[in-house]
């Protein structure tokens, strides 16, 4: 627990489904621990 971890914001492709059809967008999400 005392380890220092750095978290990054990462770009990710996110799939969206609507009644009109599917598409993908690029969003940001907090990423993996270093």
């Amino acid at each position: 627990a005392s380890e220092t971890k750095t978290r990054k914001w990462e770009q990710k492709q996110v799939q969206i489904k609507t009644l009109e059809g599917e598409f993908s967008v690029t969003m940001w999400a907090s990423g993996t621990d270093d």
Binding site: K12, V14, G21, A29
Partner: protein
Amino acid sequence: RRKRTAEMEGSYDWTPQLIEHGFCAAPVSCFKHAPISEIWDDITVGMKVEVENTDCDEVCEAFPDSFWVATVLRISGYRALLRYEGFGHNAEKDFWVSLCSNDIHPVGWCATIGKPLIPPNTIANKYKDWKDFLKRRLTGARTLPTDFYNKVNDSMKSRFRCGLQLEVVDKNRISQVKVATIQKILGKRLHVRYYDSPPDDNGFWCHEDSPLIHPVGWSRKIGQTLDAYPDYLERMSKKQYSEDDATEDIFIVPKNHTIPGFKFQEGMKLEAIDPLNLSAICAATVMRVLRKEFIMIRIDSYDEDASGADWFCYHSCSPCIFPIGFCAQHGLPLTPPKGYDPTTFTWDSYLTETNTIPAPIHLFNPEVPQHGFIEGMRLEAADLMDPRLVCVATITRVIGRLLRVHFDGWEDEYDQWLDCQSPDIYPVGWCDLVDHKLEGPRVINKTT
């Protein structure tokens, strides 16, 4: 969706207070022991999430639990104010959720389980094709990490389990520890039962990071008085452990900050939070020096008790003990020794009269963490005089790392001085998150 337990009946709901002008909840990141505290700064206002769409009727018949995208407008503790995407400045359908509940999801979650997003009724006719709108609103925006709920679940897991045996400060004789067994764990708070307690005894509650609990064999190692059954004493003397013994590896070890060659000594005077009245800081005496930097102190204002039953064990790095003059330096009232008048008491004359010396300042923990708490912040706090209760509270004073926690609706005499890293304080929404009952502010019924 979580089932509400019977214990949650009557639990206080913060929601009406969250929208009050000036309401300020202490941020989750201030509570290092609280679930997902370490990643809390990754959750921000403006972030997009997928959440159940409750503004629907006919469409919902085809999709019984439809979802839509919402934006986080405000964060208060674990609670967030959300607005469905497409409402613009219309606050009509804004709603509060618990950010760690399974009611909200990262954007993209619905598509992974084949659910289409369905716009709320109020705005359903605003656009012919919602794809373009959502593309514009979501591209480049932030959302929760896909593994968010794994992180929430992992951070809620206790290091302990029911049935483990440990050594716990004896609530009826604070100078000793007593063997106890964990009966229940709720939000990493342990409900323990002393080995010899009668059936009507409610046992004792404390957080798993509490300095009041210790591994088996601790008292023997430290030199603290232990109350245990004969078989336990025999096993400890032979260092024979069972699988139901809570061992050192799952306890918090106090950090040692002492300078080699300098130690507390018996008879030294200091100021200390009264373990039996946490609203008071009192003149105190080091009664015994134990091993591994633990000391037994006695509050000088207590009635005479030659048995030593009222001594209390603090680690020398405890943030609850202070060098003499601490209260005067910060304008706080000091409870003087028994028989002394608080208006005329001075340390100088008391030290002379008792022929004692103050504990040198360099023996005390000088660390003041960057904690982020400020006066007026709201939180949930265990009532340490009845620690099965967690109550709504406000920080009314901050002195370095020391916090004065006031229980809403109660007189100041019930306040508690607590360290900023105390595991007994929690963010707004913690009780709801872990299914612990939250005691609301005391309401006094006024009769006319």
